[in-house]
Symmetry: C2
Subunit: 340 residues, 2 copies
């Protein structure tokens, strides 16, 4: 089996660290690993299983002899450094939003649309975390019964905002504990994460949906390859460290589908785990799914009024299948399909 020279751009961030972890956990065929980050982080040492890796500054010249470059250092870094990486001969797997909606760039969840990898032109985009778990969950239903309509309300964890958000959240918790967690004193002037909900993730766009909501809308249509999919989303940051949850309403195309049909087609999917046993109070939660690889689905119910309507509760580790692990899966699919 071939082995590859790998680079990780944004290696010191939450997702960058997870990519390094996953490369080893998934037995990715590594020849060498180069950890790249901003000038500020250059010189840092990252330890993985008692081996130390020196972080270098990510520059245009960093990609000589690199076969696969994982990018996860923000959209502006990707815009600046993906073109020279491709030019140097690397295949880029980009976890930022920089190129996702470019028509010539495949946007891939391998379990859903690995066929799109073949038309790559040096870069494959990794979808947004909240999109991956939604698109992957709905793809078996789409294949079996068609999907006309999606309304998603998300419950997104703090780790989705990176280490900075995690640190802010921790400090807020500690400061509330110092005040003896007195409810009445937890009224803040600004919008803290702790003991609060923020119905805004990323900036607002002109249509008053946030960028995060537009990512779910546009990326899901692209991955599921259906421009006419009716999809809307409301994205909310919740005070949970890790794993995103989604309350999802769908309308299928086919009539008279029942819960068992939905369960059956979902359970046949290798990345989906059903946790749906209301009698024993079993359903997925963020704590249950954190540090686990799959997509967890429960609370599957037929709508009380709409024959084609169903409700689902979808939970997944946003740093793993929502980000790092999906990027590794893209890399593995490139190898398996003989593209690299």
């Amino acid at each position: 089996m071939n082995k590859y020279n790998i680079a990780i751009v944004g290696a010191t961030g939450l997702v960058g660290r997870k990519i390094l972890d996953c490369l080893f956990k998934e037995n990715f065929p590594i020849k060498t690993i180069k950890l790249l980050a901003s000038k500020r982080s250059a010189g840092k040492l990252i330890t993985h299983k008692s081996k130390e890796y020196l972080v270098e500054e990510a520059k245009q010249s960093s990609f000589r002899n690199i076969d696969i470059a994982f990018f996860t250092a923000g959209a502006s870094t990707s815009k600046r450094l993906v073109p020279p990486a491709i030019e140097a001969g690397a295949i880029v797997i980009d976890n930022t939003s920089a190129f996702r909606m470019h028509s010539e760039v495949p946007l891939v969840v391998p379990e859903v649309n690995s066929h799109a990898l073949k038309k790559h032109q040096g870069i494959i985009a990794n979808p947004n975390c909240s999109t991956i778990q939604l698109a992957l969950s709905l793809s078996p239903i789409q294949k079996s019964y068609g999907i006309k309509r999606i309304v998603a309300s998300t419950y997104q964890s703090i780790s989705g905002g990176g280490s900075e958000s995690i640190n802010k959240f921790k400090n807020e918790i500690l400061s509330a504990v110092k005040k003896d967690l007195k409810i009445d004193e937890l009224v803040y002037e600004d919008n803290p994460f702790a003991f609060n909900l923020i119905p805004q993730i990323d900036d607002f766009t002109d249509n008053e949906y946030t960028k995060e909501e537009m990512k779910i809308i546009n990326e899901t249509k692209k991955i599921l390859e259906d421009k006419n999919l009716q999809i809307a989303a409301t994205c909310v940051r919740v005070p949970v460290f890790n794993s995103h949850s989604e309350s999802v309403y769908i309308e299928v195309e086919k009539a008279s589908v029942n819960k068992k049909d939905i369960m059956t087609c979902l359970s046949e999917h290798p990345s989906i785990y059903l946790v749906d046993d209301p009698k024993n109070q079993k359903y997925p939660t963020p704590l249950m799914t954190s540090n686990r690889e799959g997509i967890y689905i429960g609370r599957i119910r037929k709508d009380p009024d709409i024959d084609k309507g169903f409700h689902l509760w979808i939970v997944s580790d946003n740093l793993l299948k929502g980000a790092a692990l999906n990027s590794i899966h893209i890399g593995k699919a490139l190898i398996k399909e003989g593209i690299i």
Copy 2:
């Protein structure tokens, strides 16, 4: 103005305490106040503005000379003690689920359906917390444009589970802080509230919706007086101390309604406060609305695909307008309408 002999059954609970507070804050015409609770709590002293009140055991004989009895001690207590209270001549305002769906019992949010008070037979039911903020928010839209369809995903605070849940939540936070908030160590075997989401509030019913979800479905139909309303809900407990939030999708009956129309009809309602200024990142949050009286609505958006579809983010203090304050409002409406 007449003054009334008041009883509060469940006076030592979170909502019972809030009812006592609200009676004074709202200048309710009080002659006497009797605080009732379980045998276990009898003998306790409750202090309000440096005046002490002795808690007595709630018994069948507790309601002699009582004009208005507020019940908030759970459905089983209401089932046992509401009939003798009515028989003793009191008007009961019941904050439990015991009688809400009885066809002869008015279920009232005074700003929505105070006309239903007239047909009372000794008891008026106070709706469930998550229902009140939904029904109140949607009633002006229903009046102006009709509502065909509602899909609600809730983000419900811990205080909705009472003092016991608050204490459990606080202990979980303190125990996580002792472990230095290490994310990887926050994996619990059971389902804690802290840093987690529980997609179950109250027990499951046979159709695999929870009782809380069925309350939203059935009570909203009853309050909005539309049996054909298509409504579904997913109810989730979130690690927030107080104030429930709801991500709500609606479809109106009338075509070509726009966001401004929705804003206008909502802004004319005295209990609704619009906080909807995405450019300045203004929207309601639990911390902003906790200890405040109204219903706060933001993130109002037209659906990208459905002309009649709109999305709203509705937040309100579940202990105030969601419970205690609405009960006081029912009492005031009874006086205003000359029913008592």
